[in-house]
């Protein structure tokens, strides 16, 4: 049985922890709003890019001379996994769910006899993946020093990926990140970015795109747009990831605050009980002492 003083100390320490988690929750909530706004602001560009590329790609898909970024290298031997995670922990299952998805994917590919290369973005994922896939990690990018996530960061990652692709170092690239669904739900997602896949490959658009005039030629535009599309996809993933991170952190910290509250209640109850027991004991001692006289 802990003494009164021990209990008092424990209550004080849990209270201090609760204050910290509460503050972290508030900060995460504020940052979440900003991250969400950024993700929403980036949406129009990505949507239009998708639309334009979708129609261009549909028109060009059959051509033998179509750019490699669109048609692929024709092999799928070497896979590049781009794993985007957070820079910090204390965000519930956020980092581990992305890493788990990436790891399962990597193991599956390895079992099929494929070569797997991993590019990690973010410190947390790198730390965990380094343990089991030390030899597979080809590059590691961290945005620890970056305060405001901008397109420049996505461009940096995309530049690295494109350099590798142009050097023929991989055939298929898949991006792993957490899709932001709501504050309480973030879904770890795998998305193939090279060769490019378009969600909106509408058949109806091909007829209207035939009327377009292209300056310079259709092929040149496509060639310029495809690398840009890689950067845009990565940018979108990074923004979604950022929003998901703060969402996960907010709910994790909310849980922690509530748990601390419960713990304080329990500890206070046993503290009061023990205090009452001690008072009763002292009273009994006094009364029995008086009776003995």
């Amino acid at each position: 049985m802990p003494s009164l003083k021990d209990l008092k100390n424990r209550i004080a320490s849990v209270k201090a922890t609760q204050k910290i988690t509460k503050a972290m929750k508030m900060v995460a909530a504020a940052k979440l709003r900003r991250a969400q706004e950024a993700a929403e602001a980036a949406r129009p560009y990505a949507q239009r890019m998708d639309k334009v590329l979708g129609s261009l790609a549909a028109a060009n898909a059959g051509n033998a001379g179509a750019p490699l970024l669109l048609s692929g290298t024709g092999k799928d031997q070497v896979h590049l996994l781009i794993v985007a995670t957070g820079e910090r922990g204390l965000a519930g299952g956020f980092n581990s769910s992305i890493v788990r998805l990436a790891r399962d994917h990597a193991l599956k590919l390895i079992a099929q006899g494929k070569t797997v290369k991993i590019l990690t973005v973010g410190r947390k994922g790198n730390d965990v993946l380094r343990r089991s896939f030390k030899d597979n990690i080809v590059h590691y990018i961290t945005f620890r020093e970056v305060k405001q996530l901008g397109f420049a960061q996505a461009d940096e990652v995309a530049g690295k990926v494109l350099d590798m692709f142009n050097a023929g170092e991989f055939d298929v690239a898949t991006l792993f990140f957490a899709r932001f669904q709501s504050v309480i739900a973030q879904v770890a997602t795998a998305q193939q970015i090279i060769p490019a896949k378009f969600e909106a490959a509408q058949a109806t658009d091909t007829s209207s795109s035939a009327l377009y005039e292209y300056e310079p030629s259709e092929e040149e535009i496509l060639e310029e747009l495809l690398p840009k599309n890689v950067a845009v996809q990565i940018f979108r993933a990074l923004l979604e990831n950022n929003a998901s991170f703060y969402g996960a952190q907010m709910s994790a910290m909310d849980n922690a605050t509530r748990n601390a509250g419960d713990m304080i209640n329990k500890l206070t109850l046993s503290y009061n009980r023990q205090r009452q027991a001690q008072i009763t004991k002292e009273l009994i001692e006094i009364i029995s002492g008086a009776e003995a006289l």
């Binding site: 129009p44 261009l56 397109f151 377009y212 950067a231």
Partner: protein, 135 residues
């Protein structure tokens, strides 16, 4: 006004303009072009330069863009820029910074085609620098 059309200027980070305009001047790769309503559907890449937007109210806004492409339809025009800022907000420093990055990229470029493209980009940027500094 009958000959107004929708113009949107979008950068990867946000939507800068979405308004009814009467006239837009775009620095297309093959030369500057003015877009009016009922323009034939055109898709073009753009080079670094100044986009001049004439609103339906007659007011003219200028934006500096750093490459991208434009999707022009009879009833609308969408400009997807790699980066875009209001011309008044542009400082010599940001331009200088971009020129330096481009120069560094050029130093790293290996194949000729890439090199030519970067050189062109650099010329455009330097040209733009001339305009802005003069203004």
């Amino acid at each position: 006004m009958a000959d107004a059309f929708n113009f949107e200027l979008v950068s990867p980070e946000r939507l800068l303009v979405s308004e009814k305009v009467s006239e837009v001047v775009i620095p297309a790769t093959l030369g500057e072009m003015t877009v009016l309503a009922q323009h034939a559907p055109t898709m073009t890449t753009i080079k670094p330069g100044v986009v001049s937007v004439k609103l339906a109210s007659g007011q003219v806004n200028k934006y500096v863009v750093f490459g991208g492409f434009a999707d022009i339809l009879p009833e609308s025009c969408t400009l997807l820029a790699d980066a875009a800022i209001l011309a008044n907000d542009l400082t010599v420093d940001t331009l200088q910074h971009r020129i330096e990055t481009a120069q560094a990229d050029l130093g790293k470029a290996t194949d000729d085609e890439h090199k030519t493209r970067l050189e062109q980009f650099l010329t455009d940027l330097t040209h733009l620098n001339g305009i802005v500094v003069a203004a």
